[in-house]
């Protein structure tokens, strides 16, 4: 291959990297069930998909505003319990329940977000954490509706046409389809006019305000969007497992979500899925040492943050660029 053809191909790949990336991801998702249909493995990947949806939303908020939310598990809880209560106690259809769950989360996040988003930094982190504690307490105490500490069981699965989405392969298709749609939306958002404004907001809030980006409104928008995605994840969680309990949505889950965002890289869409995958899979790898589980879990987290503070995707990209550059230099040295 001569230099020109090679340059053209590189240009083609580079300019279509987004579309090709999503296409490759879609292909991988489609082909995965042929690679393995082991229910245990698929259970794990489905869990990654569920978390990814919430993490993608949270990453839009954290990445663009530079603020920490330690309360997004509360919105997952709102999604999951709205779905659960409506289908179990009122006998609604799962899809309708999902829609109402999303609406409920949107309403709640607006009500909470408008006053609270005036806060920033540690105060906002604390306020969101506080909201999560309050929601967790309500779930524990209102046991007439939520089942209290023992949880709410018997939530029906989603149905597509006449098929109930209840086995791992069907769940895989539905869940990862949602992830792909959210990912594609997230990647595209950056290229729209408001999205460009959000990118400025991500870099510098004062600068964004000077350029005419409606900062306060943008923050509330991102907050509500992330809450809605968390609620979708929560609702799908409820229909996937058929059972929800308050401890699935405690403050540790919220911190896990935020950790996934930071691990993958703030504002990185691909990083969100990678971060979710790492945190979901970590306990599996440290299964060997049951007693050292938390120890290993935290240790790996600290190690990744120490080595790649800018997030894994950017860390890997930089490492590859460095290796490439070294190889190039080696080649030119050899030629000289």
């Amino acid at each position: 291959m001569d230099g020109l053809t090679r340059a053209r191909w590189l240009h083609f790949f580079w300019s279509h990297r987004l579309g090709l990336g999503v296409l490759a991801a879609a292909g991988a998702v489609l082909l995965f069930p042929w690679y393995t249909d082991n229910p245990y493995t698929m259970g794990l990947t489905n869990r990654i998909a569920l978390m990814s949806i919430a993490v993608l939303g949270l990453n839009l908020f954290m990445g663009c505003t530079g603020q920490i939310s330690l309360g997004h598990a509360a919105f997952m809880a709102v999604g999951a319990y709205t779905s659960g209560i409506l289908t179990v106690h009122a006998g609604w259809s799962p899809w309708l329940a999902l829609a109402v769950a999303v609406a409920a989360a949107a309403g709640l996040s607006l009500a909470v977000g408008v006053p609270l988003l005036r806060l920033s930094g540690h105060a906002l982190a604390m306020a969101t954490l506080a909201c999560n504690v309050v929601v967790h307490h309500v779930l524990l105490q209102e046991d007439r509706w939520t089942g209290g500490p023992s949880g709410l069981a018997g939530i029906p699965p989603l149905t597509v046409a006449q098929w109930a989405v209840d086995d791992p392969v069907r769940l895989h298709v539905v869940l990862w389809l949602v992830v792909l749609v959210v990912m594609f939306g997230g990647l595209n958002l950056v290229r729209s006019l408001p999205g460009r404004g959000l990118m400025v907001l991500a870099a510098d809030e004062v600068c964004a305000a000077c350029l005419g980006v409606p900062v306060a409104r943008a923050k509330v928008f991102l907050w509500t969007l992330s809450a809605v995605l968390a609620a979708v994840a929560g609702s799908l969680f409820a229909h996937t497992y058929g059972f929800v309990s308050p401890d699935s949505f405690g403050i540790f889950v919220s911190t896990d979500l935020a950790i996934m965002v930071v691990l993958g890289g703030m504002g990185s869409v691909w990083g969100s899925v990678l971060g979710a995958a790492v945190i979901v899979l970590l306990p599996e790898f440290s299964e060997l040492a049951e007693t050292y589980k938390e120890f290993v879990h935290g240790g790996i987290l600290v190690a990744i943050l120490l080595v790649a503070p800018q997030g894994m995707i950017r860390g890997i990209r930089q490492a590859v660029a460095l290796a490439w550059w070294r190889a190039q230099r080696g080649r030119s040295d050899a030629a000289a």
Binding site: P115, H122, A123, A127, V134, H137, G298, L305
Partner: protein, 284 residues
Amino acid sequence: MDFMQFVWAGLGNGAIYALIALGFGVVHGAMGIVNFVQVDLVTLGGMLLYSASVLAGLPVPVGLLAAVVGTALVAMFVERLGLRPARTNHPLVLVFLTVGISIVLRGAIQMVWGKNRMAVPPITEDVPVRLWGAMVLPQTLWMMALTVAAIGALVWFFRGTNLGLAMRAVASNPTAAAVVGIPAGRVRMAAFAVAGACGGLAGALVTPVTTLSADVGVLLGLKGFAAAILGGFGSFPGAVAGGVLLGLVESLAAAYVSSAYKDALAFVVLVLVLCWRPSGIVRQ
């Protein structure tokens, strides 16, 4: 009178929250981050007291001292081994680094002390004292007295010693402090030691009253964080005011509103106060 009873209980808890909040404030002053390891230093303080007084049979005051020194040392290690090697100054990444270290430390505590609840004898015998119409446990009085003493020591430390002065310099402008030759790393390590001592003291003081396990430490630590934010993060009078207010609100809410929602109500009040006054109740 019941009311005074609840006020005393609230003040006792408030003193603990204030101590933890002070620890948060010291590290925030030196590094500008929330140090979530503080949460586990509280647990560690209680556990060390348990080991010293129950397992090793030392008298409680000696055990208390050992707990405080031990947590301060662990906090110094945390800064030196966990935070200083980080290749970034980004506060958000550092905050999550502390979350990671906190998980490691919690794992380590569970490995060493197991998951059981620990009970420790109080400093002086559990004979309630009658004070302003309420029966008060001596341990509650110890909590308040030692917290006041710790606050006094902190004020002296920050105003009267070179290290304290250096810490304030690093807090107000790290670059300028480095230019005049203040070793920022060592000062931050000292800040962690102070924070660790506060957290350890809080944990050791509260253990005889509540019994301690890893998750109790977490809840206490988070309430300390809430107290710090409530008062105004980084402000020392704010930390004390926030701690006392949070303790009182919690105790009175449990008594007169709903005991089931005791923990939640404290956080609701926190959110309301933050909506009304975003930078905390004490103006800086």
